[in-house]
């Protein structure tokens, strides 16, 4: 199963902070998963915004990447604490 984590404003948009799903049919990589989630939750392209970073198993991925269906995927809008 794939575990998806939405952070910051993305959790408001997706209406959830986390979800677990099987890799949807025909979805084999990050870019396809982003597109699939965007449609499923009506995100208006928010996951493809250049300010949103993607982590696979807690590591940043900058390019596309194939998925085996057992990853933890995090979508991170601009960060900042303090």
């Amino acid at each position: 199963m794939i575990k998806i984590l939405y952070f910051g404003r993305l959790s408001d948009m997706a209406g959830r902070r986390t979800e677990t799903l099987a890799l949807p049919q025909g979805v084999r990589n990050i870019s396809a998963l982003r597109a699939w989630l965007d449609t499923a939750h009506d995100l208006g392209g928010a996951l493809d915004d250049p300010s949103v970073k993607t982590m696979v198993d807690q590591s940043l991925v900058h390019n596309d990447m194939s998925l085996n269906g057992n990853e933890e995927i995090g979508f991170l809008p601009p960060v900042g604490g303090g």
């Binding site: 952070f7 404003r9 807690q58 809008p77 960060v79 900042g80 604490g81 303090g82």
Partner: protein, 148 residues
């Protein structure tokens, strides 16, 4: 020592313990960030972390500071969850032999925490709730540390 916690902490108590553990350090700098009311516009601040990722990132920044300056000890305490106006958000303390590295490392870590640490902030006030992202100045401050 790096602590990310979802309950309030008392900066004076934490600093006292840090100071006692480093009584031979000569110089101790600290930064305390508190929730500002913005003239009554803010009621609460909510901070979210990515458990694991957030802490690893801070550990990394502390290691970089220790590589760059001669430091005796570093303490970072960062709140997550919901905080009221006036409550502490972050406390960074640096112990060193002399004051220059102690100031620089504290400043450096705060710039990291403001712009690169994996936190998201939501501010709740009389105008409702909104996610807030770093200010342009914060990114400029961070750039000062880049080695050209």
């Amino acid at each position: 020592m790096i602590t990310i916690r979802d309950t309030p902490f008392k900066p004076s108590k934490e600093l006292e313990a840090f100071t006692q553990a480093n009584c031979d350090a000569g110089a101790i700098t600290s930064f305390l960030g508190q929730v500002r009311s913005e003239a009554g516009k803010v009621n609460a601040l909510y901070l979210e972390q990515y458990p694991g990722v957030t802490e690893t990132g801070i550990m990394d920044a502390v290691a970089k500071a220790k590589a760059r300056w001669t430091l005796t000890d570093v303490m970072v305490i960062h709140r997550v969850g919901t905080m009221d106006v006036g409550e502490p958000i972050v406390l960074v303390a640096i112990a060193a032999k002399h004051r220059r590295p102690a100031f620089l490392a504290c400043d450096y870590l705060m710039d990291y925490l403001k712009t690169q640490a994996v936190f998201w902030k939501r501010q709740t006030g009389k105008d409702g709730s909104k996610w807030i992202e770093p200010r342009t100045e914060d990114y400029q401050d961070k750039k000062r540390w880049e080695i050209r």
